[in-house]
Subunit: 312 residues, 6 copies
């Protein structure tokens, strides 16, 4: 059973890098839009009896990227693929994991059901915002983590006297994993979310004064949480110019403005999401292609993923 890797349209550079490390050429496919916006997908290499991997984060525009993934999967299924694995380095809609205010959809479950409807057999995700998503799916979900790779990239950048900071309560477990790996102390900024998108910083647990904060989170989306945390940290007399580290650097909405306006030393993101060029930001991209390539090789040869997976 030979391996074939296809890229959706969301992050081709990552897919190219992954395929190169797996040692195969990316499968050829057409992803196009008809003038009426409808998606057209065509697989150009035979996938019959193949072990197919589709690499597609559901980064913005989320719906279009999701639909590409579903159409690619259906095309592979109908063309006789033995097994279709969706590699979704950034899994959107993961925050819609319950009905927060009554009559909402459970978005993450809707998406999970769409995966199954499109004949996807298995999902590989990286640093999910909600690890419980695993239970939303009937098919197996392998939950990889980019933390070791980001830790490796951080190590040479760290000043001696730094502190790992979780910018909110929800991120404490992730921050602890960084703190343990880097052997640094931990601090927590806890915030009160006042309304949908604005935050109000409330306090800091742990000693940050005189230290360089290393703010860690699973994703930086509009950078609201991070910039508010930086404000609080500066007020608490940390050494300004913090580092910011996250698996997913979405940088949407006012993110670039916000981050340009605060004294960030370095922004370290993985490449789960295709990044635009932001010359005003001190970005450092760390590729997770080795992680994904390793996972694919192991999945293909049926070896354990145990040490690539998030343990809680």
């Amino acid at each position: 059973m030979a391996i074939v890797i296809f890229s959706g349209g969301a992050n081709e550079p990552l897919a190219v890098a992954v395929a190169a490390q797996v040692g195969v050429a990316l499968g050829r496919r057409v992803i196009a839009r008809f003038p009426d916006s409808e998606l057209h997908v065509q697989i150009e290499d035979s996938v019959r009896g193949r072990d197919v991997y589709l690499i597609q984060p559901t980064s913005p525009p989320a719906d279009a990227h999701l639909m590409e993934l579903l159409f690619l999967a259906d095309a592979c299924h109908r063309a006789g693929a033995s097994r279709v694995t969706a590699i979704v380095p950034y899994f959107g809609y993961a925050r819609q994991d319950r009905r927060a205010r009554g009559r909402e959809p459970v978005g993450a479950r809707v998406i999970s059901d769409l995966f199954a409807a499109a004949h996807i057999c298995r999902v590989v995700a990286v640093d999910l915002h909600t690890p419980e998503l695993e239970g939303f799916m009937s098919i197996p979900l392998e939950h990889l983590t980019a933390v070791p790779i980001l830790v490796g990239a951080l190590t040479p950048l760290l000043p001696e006297d730094c502190v790992i900071v979780s910018p909110d309560l929800g991120g404490v477990k992730l921050a602890q994993r960084y703190a343990t790996a880097l052997r640094k102390p931990l601090a927590i900024v806890y915030k009160e979310r006042l309304s949908g998108r604005e935050v109000e910083v409330r306090g800091i647990v742990g000693d940050v004064a005189g230290r360089v904060p290393v703010i860690v989170d699973d994703m930086v989306s509009t950078a609201g949480t991070v910039s508010a945390a930086i404000g609080a940290l500066v007020q608490a007399c940390c050494i300004p110019q913090p580092l910011v580290v996250a698996t997913h650097g979405l940088l949407v909405g006012e993110a670039v403005e916000r981050l340009s306006g605060v004294p960030v030393r370095r922004l370290v993101f993985s490449d789960t999401v295709a990044s635009a060029n932001h010359p005003s930001l001190p970005l450092e991209a760390v590729s997770i292609a080795p992680l994904l390539a390793d996972a694919i090789k192991r999945l293909h040869s049926e070896r354990s993923l145990d040490d690539l997976i998030v343990h809680h």
Copy 2:
């Protein structure tokens, strides 16, 4: 079991008109996008035990409008709705009804499965490009037709000496229904599709010379087929300034340019798709709100739809 009608974001004016004719206020809901493009949906009126109708054509942008429909349906399901009926006046992806060139998805089936995954119980569609779509769904699909409404709107506009024209072979059955209803002769332009989007007109069956052609089709998308048909008809000595009639006036891509460049007397479309303002075009919109309102009232009170439905 009370009735509640919600509008997706694709065609609110139509939904407003339908609700008014049904005699209820549109249900309140929030449809918004987070900065990272993810959809946020919230139902603001109780739907518990209600008979819910969601009005949403999957017009461009197709994926976003589809996702809105799925999220609305899931929200209604989880909030205890008794029954969720999707009213999809224009059903996108209906042309992706088979694998035309080998390793493609069967897009219309993928969409059909997504409907079921989102707990939709029943679909109402209007003048589907592929009537076989009914068989793609496990849930009942009611296939309404706007032809009688369009015929009603056409009647006062028709010159005595006109001919109903199908602009290609696939549309002959639809054209016959117009011809019968209007008691006019029928002609067929048959074309050879050379490549994806360009067409080459080949010949005309029927007598068009000296008559005003009334070109009828299920949808006018990029207007390529229609403008080519007009070219052939003019060459065949019809009276220039044809009428063009279709259920779905998508007018995407170069449609406006193409139609502005040919001598069209009138473009008669229903309002299944929310229309932009095109001052350069002699557009006439005919509302299908009465049709949809009638269907909803019958479905709600469990009366037969027989005379609203396409018979083949």
Copy 3:
């Protein structure tokens, strides 16, 4: 994973020929009826871990042949077959692809669901009346075509001055495929269907006078369409004694009487359906066993079917 081929009771000669070309003996099975008409099926060779192919057209009596296929598939599933592929050279009920007159079943969807209920993993069909059937199934359907084989058989039989004729509008695409392959001109007889089974010929597009017509269709069932077309062609001064070509030669109802009464030069059918002996007809059977054997060999060894498949 070894291959096993079983024949249902509908067309054993074809199955024998296919197995011979694949290079295996037909698997042994019992298909019998109890005195109360109930079907009894038993598989006599082990199928555990095997790649099983069941060859069974759903030719008349359609229900009985369908049920044989379902029982064979269930027996193979329960006996541990790795994969059950149904080879359905003639797929009945394909014309019941929508609700034509209101409260009908969508027969083709019912059949499609039965296939899945019986644990069939994949279907192979030949020249479907409705290619959209692919979307009726959740499992992959491989839509093969017998046209190249029939073209090969036709070539030596063709007079120089002939014309490919589609006997109705629905068959134009198929006729074009013959015309292109044989490099012959194309004509269309278009008919108006008056009532269920009687037809009224209306006109002819294309030049047939003085030519030998080669009428092509996907199937010849009661021969009503074909014999009406011959009447029209003769009236249009073609050279009498046309050829008739079709993938599926069902010849039911009054077919033999009708075809005996018109001046047919040759009737060329494939052997998708087991044929009775009709000495009064100039039948020529062309076997699709090589096509099916090739498809099975490729499916078994996971090679592409691309060039055996209908492209639209």
Copy 4:
């Protein structure tokens, strides 16, 4: 929610009687066959929002009658029926309840899955050969019994000195129910089944000498079991001219010959299966229409069926 009852083609007289007792006219439907043997079904009355009951035993020809039922159910589902209940007075394939000889299908499970695939919501059956069939279905199965009706018909026919006889071990529980209701002694003929259809009587448990035997069974199919039992009983010095009672009088194969050749006093069957006229047999038909009508009325008005149901 109004009630509608349709009859399949297998037993219209029974359906007419049931509808009359329920107090409604039978719904109008077309059941026809195309010349190629394919089934054509059409519902002519609106079923939208209706509580639909389909009456169809799967008596010979079993496959055709089964398919009629499935197509009727699908048509009702797609036409908007609220609930489709299949009344299957005689449930064929009930004896194929396990794999008896290795690689067989479990026919009764296949049939059960087809019911669900056709959107049937509930099944009503009468005196099933295998009561475990209930567990084959995910939908509820109401297992009614005709025994009280048959007991009522038997009572005036019984000589004082009679004995209830089960013609084989499998029927003992049923015979006990008759014996208890009629307050008569019980005897058992136990047989050794030598090959598929022939039987060899072995012995008799219980006192039959000088008594009139009343042989009871769930069905009389080829009458092999019954005629062998009569032979054994006569040999055991019972009073000749036994009575034979069964819910389902299929009388297929050599049944009429066999029963004409033995001294049967009376054959009492219910009308679950439409009976042919057999002047040579002393047949007495007892209608279960009151039972089915009662069940339908209770199901429709949501009242308990408890006293109509088989208790084991």
Copy 5:
């Protein structure tokens, strides 16, 4: 559609109270065990067409109580219930919401799938440990909260100078809801979980010195977290004799010993779980019967649950 309420065997006193407040008698049913430990369930009242509510927390022994619920649901389904709602006041296995250490089951998803397999239509739960469980289910889950009831019971017990304490980071959101409702300050004990069941308290956020701590949590299981938190609070100079409040008072393992050994003023639990008598503990039970009765009445009459539901 009448209402019927049945109690499983896990908490009959609660079910009795709920039924009384709904104004109906509890439905009669048998729940027994055969000598081989197999469960035997029988419903003694007709449920045909009824709106059935099954009240059963999955408290210890969890498997046996779960199986009772599944068997009751299947019995109601097969007996013709219109709708089966499972009221699961305490939902066990909710903490097994992801694969924490590699090759584990996602227990909560397994349980969710079992619910669907047993034909349960809807679940009502109270103060779930993992609100994301909603996404594990395809059927609607109504997530009620006992917090207002517990707040009502707490109010008269509260000393003026008290502080709401979350005993770990995971419970902060719940603690905030209490703090807001009671208008009291908030503190957090954050712990490091060292091994499976032992905990090590690390620090306290917020001002507790000189105040009476009110420790709030969703459940008190072995009381390890709570007793460790009390230790830390006492060390931090709070006023000893804290109050402990939780929705679910499981009190398993060493819970009674632990709580007897610390200076607890009052233990306030709801009655989601049937409580044993612990004379050594200052227990105060607050009934959620009014909450469940209110929910059932609203669900039955199809009114909104909005103000009974957890909003995040």
Copy 6:
């Protein structure tokens, strides 16, 4: 695809023996209970791509053992196992195969659905009380028999003048298989079941006087049936000290007391169920490990099980 065998907690000695005969070490796993009785399962060896066999009879406590099996299966599925086969030597709940008294669950179907919900692909069972269970499952069920093994163990123990006895009518087919294999005559004790657990012996078919009875049954549960049969046999002047043979020696309830009080020569059971030590009983355990090991080896290497399977 390598093989891995795990044992549930119900019968580890059997699993150890099976694994030894297959030639592999048992896979390592943790099965534990949290203090609140919730099950915790963890697989410690990689199962990715493996052919997994889980050995677990659902012997008492049935629910707990069943849940272990489901959790093990889910864990293997999510961890990437290729195929999960449940080896259930004793299948509990098999007697709940229909609704015997109205509003009961069909317990065996509930259990069957749970198997599928937990992603089990195939079930292997031994001497099922209800062979129809096969039809309750959509997945294949291999129904093995321990009769040849028990016959082998019996042969040296049999006195010359013995008779095989079925202790009730339901067991006659099983007894015939023993009688045929051992070439001994057959007798039947037939009983009338008066109430749930007490039995009343009624009569004996066949000649037992002066012979040693060998009572055979599928299982000995409370031994009520067996001890009553012994009473009847002794009364019928058999040679006291019968042998008792059964596949499943559950010995629950009063079984040990009952069997200690009757003159049993030997009790021969297989080890499908882990047995306690009963010094008062003349137990002889015969291991089915060779049978299960043989079945696993054949399933793994895709060879026929035909001669290991029950034929009816």
